[in-house]
Amino acid sequence: MSSGSATLESSTLAPRARRAMYARAFYGLIRRDMRVARREAFQLSMRTIMNPFLFVFVFAYVFPKIGQQFQSGGGISFATIIVPGLIGSAIIFNGISAVALPLVMEFGATREIEDRVMAPLPTAAVAVEKIVFSAAQAVVAGLVVFPFVYLIPSTPVSVHVNNWPLLIGVFLLAGLVSSALGMAIGTVANPRQIGLVFALIVIPVTFLGCVYYPWARLHPILWLQILVLINPLVYISEGLRTALTPSVPHMHPWAFFGALLALFALLMWMALSGFLRRVID
């Protein structure tokens, strides 16, 4: 363990050894996040389930039972319409929270990100790991929500998957877009502002994300129909609608895939440059 031998090793770091070093560090970061997520599993699942559970319970179980109905039109039940939307909003809410909440603390108050930043891999890879892991977490959240929105309603829910690759593609892209958005938020907000950020960004995003109606139905309010196009959840909801409930009006796959890819590129750029700015003085 003399310093002499260390010098020799370091200055002759072969490309393969370097790739292995990065891969192991990345894997270590994933193990760390898995351990933390396991420890917080109960809290995470409560955070994930409560909103869609109560929403479906009140609007798709209680409402029909007591004879208070939504006008859904076209013979499609409201319960069917909200399935993709609620899954989408679970994904985006969890993706944002999984990154933004810890990151804001770790940057602003505790600086505990420090040790992970000192791991032997490029700093941007630390950010990428966080996004990839949180995207997976967000996808799981979407899956967890599914049985609730499918089983609780007291009116029929009609879900048909005829294109599995499309569904998987939308899920993965939705997770990645959400956690990249979370990091973009986490690198600009400070701990004192995070409540405000959630109120001003996360809540409007979930309410105006075409969760409770298909985007096409917004036509009578044209300005809103155009305005919500900046909202990533719109494309996630429409994508899931296409994949899960094709009988409901939905966007063309080119539209939502194109928009999600473009948003992902933009948010990823914001997230990574924000992360590097926060971590390197």
Binding site: R31, T110, E112, V117, M118
Partner: protein, 315 residues
């Protein structure tokens, strides 16, 4: 091949925040030799943390070059990170993980197989007398204990260079001594230690060589003994006076055997060489200005700092 250790050449760092510019480092040169304990001593805001930041790839230099074990920190940060251990000035333990997990996860980041990482964590817990608290979370630890965990974590991956930024700040004397022992233990194993401090006792008793930094510039660099010799004084006499005045200071300076005299507040600090009769002559002058109290000490690094800057280290 460049030598082991740290080479800092013409390093400058300017922070630009909201229009104002802070020149934290103004072109410093340092060379830390492989295997030594090197101390960077300086007051608050001198640029110690910035220097460590550049060496550990966390701060981007405005100009200049730093190599650690021959690797340029800017050109290949991951390779530098692999061979260094860092204890920052801030508590940075991962609060979502227990102490044992903090150590094991760190080892995994550095490529240890999970099984070996847990073994390594247990080994460190034992070495640092932390085994009993293995399952505790960082928030549940005392400051001294948390600092021990940070040092244990920093060496978990067997780095060849260890950076410690004010490692004993805020520790009680007992924890401080324990940490000094730990650092000496690393030194004995051949690890290069670069530490910053504003405690001169720490620099003096621990370091092979010390650089004094102030306002982003290195003032001197040498062994503690040589630095103390450099002021060519044997004794530091501090006089507390009713009425210190400039004329008195002038008269003291003129006395044979007096190296320097400097007023600060109601006291005058006089450095003297060993020469018969110097003390009585000083006392005679001081009495005329209402001598209240007098202390005599051997010169320390603090004396060196004061004679270089005219200020106390902790001002």
């Amino acid at each position: 091949m460049e030598p082991a250790g740290i080479v800092i050449e013409k390093l400058a760092k300017m922070y630009a925040r909201r229009g104002s510019e802070v020149h934290a480092l103004k072109g410093i040169d340092l060379e830390v030799r492989g295997g030594e304990i090197f101390g960077l001593l300086g007051p608050n805001g001198a640029g110690k943390t910035t220097t460590v930041g550049v060496c550990t790839t966390r701060v981007k230099a405005t100009s200049g070059r730093v190599t650690v074990n021959g690797i340029d920190v800017r050109a290949d940060a991951p390779a530098v990170k692999r061979s260094i251990g860092v204890v920052t000035q801030f508590r940075t333990l991962d609060r979502s993980l227990t102490i044992r997990e903090n150590l094991a996860m760190h080892a995994m980041y550095f490529g240890l197989h999970p099984k070996d990482a847990w073994v390594r964590a247990d080994e460190l817990l034992a070495d640092f007398r932390l085994s009993e608290r293995a399952g505790a979370f960082p928030d549940e630890l005392s400051g001294g204990m948390a600092q021990r965990v940070q040092v244990a974590r920093a060496i978990a991956h067997h780095p060849s260079v260890l950076f410690l930024d004010e490692p004993t700040a805020g520790l009680d004397p007992q924890s401080r001594l324990a940490l000094w022992e730990t650092i000496e233990g690393m030194h004995a194993r051949g690890i290069t230690v670069f530490l910053t401090t504003h405690y001169m006792e720490e620099a003096e008793s621990l370091c092979d060589r010390v650089a004094i930094i102030d306002h982003g510039q290195i003032l001197v660099l040498d062994t503690p003994q040589a630095l103390k010799r450099s002021i060519s004084a044997e004794t530091v006499i501090e006089l507390r006076l009713e009425a210190p005045n400039d004329a008195l200071v002038e008269r003291l300076r003129a006395l044979p055997g007096v190296v320097s005299a400097q007023a600060s507040g109601d006291a005058v600090r006089v450095l003297t060489a060993s020469q018969d009769g110097v003390l009585p002559r000083i006392l005679a002058e001081a009495n005329s200005a209402g001598l209240k109290d007098m202390t005599m000490t051997k010169p320390t690094l603090e004396t060196v700092f004061i004679s270089l800057t005219g200020r106390d280290l902790r001002e």
